[in-house]
């Protein structure tokens, strides 16, 4: 116990949660192996990914050192800055692949929606926790407005994937804050009632086509359905044991589109099979449960809500990405967290885990004080 205590205090001093770090490092290693394979054994690409992972881990460890009181205090200003930047994107943003997501500040190009992935749960958590839980209806209504502003701005870009993630991060705060089940059922009912209206009155023909293609990709196998069909072929042909690392024909022969980014899970499934998938799910489950434990153990409501929201949003990442590449959900641009190639989401995700570590190591601090 004593040695464990001293050990704990060492991790404590550097604000590191050991189990979480272990889970993240293993995921990062899986990411490198899979990106190497999915990029067609492109070493330069893999090196870039390794560099980004390293950078993201540094960001995580730096954020973990920030005192929670400061985090709480800067929640709203950060949110306000985020909204201003999003406005900037809408007005002066750069268009890339048909979507306006980037803001060129002269020196660097930034994607303000990534900032919002952290600022939104921070702000909603701050707004609710200020008054105790469950929130009053008035607070709840105001919290919704706070949530709606960035969500709509991002959906407008259009970046449906990020909008969904940001909306869920806010909704998770509200759910964890204990809003009544009646209200939750009411919202679910309202959304259910809205779907037919959306379908018959608000959606364009091409959008309906897209939904139909999601429901049955084979109706357009060479067009919109192609991606999802090839993805399912990759996953299904992997079987139980997989084709082996670097042996996935769907990915190596380039039949699978977006294979190192959004569809990297298909590459993983093809090469490592159901066995690998179960292992990956266990690893994600381990990280999520560890996050929920941190949320439970946190002493202050703000920290509880923020930690819970961050880890559940992480879960939504996994759910939406795996759901979409395996044909359960429509294709929206959500990467597989910590595995997909790409720097921005990796940094944001690990920054979030930095906050989780700050919360995890903050609780003892509070108790000692």
């Amino acid at each position: 116990m004593l040695s464990s205590n001293t050990n704990n205090s060492w991790w404590q001093r550097f604000h590191i949660d050991g189990p979480l770090l272990l889970g993240l490092v293993v995921l990062a290693l899986i990411s490198l192996a899979t990106v190497y394979s999915a990029s067609g054994q492109d070493l330069a690409m893999t090196e870039r990914q390794a560099f980004r992972i390293g950078l993201a881990f540094v960001v995580m460890l730096v954020i973990a050192q920030v005192p929670m009181s400061a985090v709480e205090r800067y929640s709203l200003p950060l949110f306000a800055l985020g909204v201003v930047l999003l406005l900037g994107v809408l007005l002066f943003g750069e268009t890339n692949k048909g979507a306006q997501r980037w803001l060129n500040l002269g020196v660097v190009t930034i994607q303000p929606s990534e900032l919002m992935k952290l600022a939104v749960p921070m702000t909603i958590a701050w707004f609710i926790s200020e008054h105790g839980i469950p929130p009053t209806k008035r607070r709840l209504a105001m919290a919704f407005i706070l949530l709606l502003i960035p969500t709509l701005m991002i959906a407008q870009q259009p970046d449906l994937g990020t909008a969904i993630l940001i909306a869920s991060s806010g909704i998770f705060v509200l759910f964890l804050a204990g809003i009544s089940w009646r209200l939750i059922l009411f919202f679910i009912g309202a959304i259910g009632a809205f779907v037919p209206i959306l379908w018959f009155f608000l959606m364009h023909d091409y959008q309906r086509q897209r939904v139909l293609t999601f429901l049955d990709p084979e109706r357009d196998p060479l067009g919109a359905g192609y991606q999802i069909i090839q993805s399912k072929i990759a996953i299904g042909s992997g079987g139980i044991e997989g084709k082996g690392w670097l042996q996935g024909t769907q990915s190596q022969l380039e039949f699978l589109p977006e294979r190192h980014t959004d569809f990297i899970f298909s590459v993983f499934s093809e090469e490592f099979g159901l066995v690998g998938v179960i292992g990956l799910f266990l690893l994600y489950g381990f990280v999520i449960i560890r996050g929920l434990i941190i949320a439970m153990r946190a002493q202050q409501v703000y920290q509880k809500l923020l930690a819970g929201s961050l880890i559940l949003t992480f879960f939504v990442y996994v759910l939406v990405n795996v759901g979409m590449v395996s044909g359960l959900l429509p294709v929206v641009g959500v990467p597989l967290p910590l595995i997909s190639y790409g720097g921005t989401s990796m940094v944001t995700l690990l920054a979030g885990f930095g906050l989780l570590m700050a919360i995890a190591t903050n609780q003892r601090f509070v108790m000692q004080r």
Binding site: G178, L253, E254, F281
Partner: protein, 624 residues
């Protein structure tokens, strides 16, 4: 805001509420992962087989491999049709950075017409992506060398070697050997209905004429397959398995190419046909049809202009005169008519008639003229053949009647296909009452029977029919089926061709064969014989019959003058014969169209030269 914070906060309540929500979330997380995993199980275990199949369909392509076409040799093993590697310049447009500029630079380096570029773009539209498209299909050595030096300047452009059919003897053998040409829509349709198209998946050409067409199935061989792994762009990554194609069988023909070439040259600028055949087994030693054309035009891809020139030629070079040309046989069929008379007992070897130079049906004023205006005098069957007396046959034909003549002539093969191994064969016309009724819806007139007696009227024969008809006499009844194929070769195994015969002609009195054979021998060996001058001094014995066929009927008082009338209406010169006179080993047929002379003066001398050449050849081969 600050004021509202006075509310007393129940930390325990908050923790419990939060805890319940976290627990609920955990359940959702577990259920969600359960759903994802169930779906993965469904994809990777339940439907694994179907997805694996689709994955393989994606990556594995079966590439058909064309078999090498069998070679064709003459009877002495000289090659008549071969597969030559030809260098072609091929372009993969997807690999060329700037296609338009590249084509212009290639044009400067290799010097070709603008048509070539147009055709290239035409071909490109039909090909799959990442396939090589032929720009120039026959590079000269100079072009190949010039390109090779600067190849590095042209990424995506390669020199490829393909096999192209080549006929070294060119036009001398076209109609018999035939040619291969690109498979067209009609060929494809035919292959489909015959369920052979799978075997042609990689084949570019098909036999269109002659031996190449008749023995297409043997020459073609069996397709092979190669399984390759391809990427999404259709590029081959590696070969997984190969099932090699089985090459087509080599054919050995009975043709003697030296004899063939000699016969071809002998015809000179004349139009017509020459056939030399072994009467015993129908082996064709030479078979010429003129005018001809170069079969390599078709094998290498004929141009529109070339094809039009063949189609529009007044002299029909595309027609195989030996098997499709319907010539009035004229006097060359007198031996068969005489045999019909002898066999029916209408004449005997000693029957004589008086020939005043013309023949008249009793009660009709029309005179059928003999070629010898003043007449042959007393004529028996022998002298009627030696001197080619017409009047004898006018009389005989009328006595036989068309029904009996038809019945006999069919036994010699007239009016039906001989069954030679060339698909382009006509049955020509052996007229009968039924035929005339069907053809013209008219009754048969006795006057027409008179002309049939000298092989005129509606009677037409192909030279190959004459060869068979002559062989029957030379064989004393045995009737061979003409045959170009001598043997098949598969690897080292040589399978001789099957020798076919048809029902022989059986005479009631076989000595009548001797009467006719003797007469035909006298035609070449006695002074009065129509072929005497041509065969004088030959150091082999032979028999033969000349013929001079009118192409247009001549009016009652009109005199025929070859020099004065239109070339197209001039007489055809014919000769049929065999050698040696006893136990003949070769039959010869010559038909020359619209000549200035007749059978005796034009065709018989050619026959003499050919037989001289033939025997000299045989002697030379025997000595070797």
């Amino acid at each position: 805001m600050k004021k509202k914070r006075v509310t007393i906060r129940d930390h325990q309540f908050e923790s419990a509420l939060f805890g319940r929500r976290v627990f609920f979330s955990l359940i959702i997380v577990v259920i969600a992962f359960g759903i994802l995993l169930t779906n993965m199980y469904h994809l990777q275990v339940v439907n694994h087989h179907s997805f694996q199949t689709r994955s393989n369909d994606n990556r594995i392509k079966v590439v058909p491999l064309a078999p090498n076409r069998g070679l064709i040799y003459d009877r002495h093993g000289r090659i008549l049709a071969e597969n030559r590697p030809v260098l072609s310049l091929e372009v993969t447009p997807e690999k060329v950075p700037d296609l338009a500029a590249t084509l212009v630079r290639l044009q400067q380096v290799l010097e070709f017409d603008d048509d070539v570029i147009d055709e290239f773009h035409e071909n490109r539209r039909r090909e799959r992506r990442f396939n090589q498209i032929i720009l120039l299909d026959r590079l000269t050595e100079e072009q190949a060398a010039r390109f090779a030096v600067r190849q590095h300047e042209f990424p995506g452009v390669n020199i490829e070697a393909r096999l192209v059919r080549h006929y070294p003897y060119g036009e001398a053998l076209t109609h018999a050997l035939g040619y291969v040409a690109k498979i067209n829509a009609n060929d494809l349709q035919k292959l489909r209905t015959e369920k052979k198209h799978a075997n042609y998946a990689a084949t570019r050409v098909i036999g269109k004429l002659g031996v190449e067409r008749y023995y297409e199935e043997l020459l073609h061989g069996t397709i092979g397959y190669q399984q390759v792994e391809v990427d999404i762009h259709g590029r081959t990554i590696r070969t997984l398995s190969v099932q090699p194609p089985i090459p087509g069988q080599d054919l050995h023909l009975e043709i003697d190419i030296d004899l063939q070439q000699y016969a071809y040259d002998l015809l000179g600028d004349e139009r017509g046909s020459i056939i030399l055949m072994d009467p015993h087994d129908g082996a064709i030693r030479a078979i010429v049809s003129k005018p001809s054309y170069d079969p390599n035009w078709f094998a290498q891809g004929i141009t529109h202009t070339q094809y039009q020139s063949l189609l529009n030629s007044r002299h029909s070079p595309l027609l195989n005169r030996s098997t499709q040309g319907g010539y009035p046989p004229a006097s060359t069929v007198k031996p068969q008519v005489a045999l019909a008379g002898l066999d029916e007992g209408i004449i005997t070897p000693t029957t004589k008639i008086w020939d005043p130079g013309w023949f008249q049906i009793e009660g009709v004023s029309h005179r059928y003229r003999d070629w010898l205006a003043w007449g042959h005098g007393w004529v028996d069957v022998t002298s009627s053949l030696v001197e080619s007396c017409d009047t004898f046959y006018y009389d005989l034909a009328l006595k036989l009647g068309i029904d009996t003549i038809h019945e006999h002539m069919v036994r010699y093969g007239f009016g039906e296909r001989t069954g030679i191994d060339i698909a382009e064969e006509s049955a020509a016309v052996m007229p009968s009452r039924g035929w005339k009724r069907a053809r013209f819806n008219q009754p048969w007139y006795a006057g027409e029977t008179v002309s049939v007696g000298i092989g005129q009227s509606y009677w037409t024969t192909t030279p190959i029919q004459l060869a068979v008809g002559t062989a029957v006499i030379a064989n004393r009844g045995e009737r061979p089926v003409p045959r170009l194929l001598r043997a098949l070769q598969e690897g080292d195994i040589i399978l001789p061709a099957v020798v076919e015969t048809r029902d022989p002609v059986v005479l009631k009195n076989p000595t009548h064969w001797d009467v006719i054979l003797d007469a035909l021998n006298r035609t070449v060996s006695t002074v009065k014989g129509t072929a005497y001058r041509a065969f004088r001094g030959a150091h082999y014995s032979s028999g033969g019959k000349t013929g001079t066929a009118q192409v247009r009927s001549i009016g009652q008082e009109e005199k025929y003058n070859a020099e004065e009338i239109d070339e197209r209406y001039r007489d055809n010169a014919m000769y049929v014969g065999y050698a040696p006179a006893t136990d003949p080993e070769i039959v010869i047929v010559i038909a020359v169209e619209n000549t200035l002379g007749g059978g005796g003066s034009v065709a018989a001398p050619m026959a003499r030269k050919l037989l001289d050449f033939y025997f000299a050849q045989e002697q030379a081969h025997a000595q070797q």
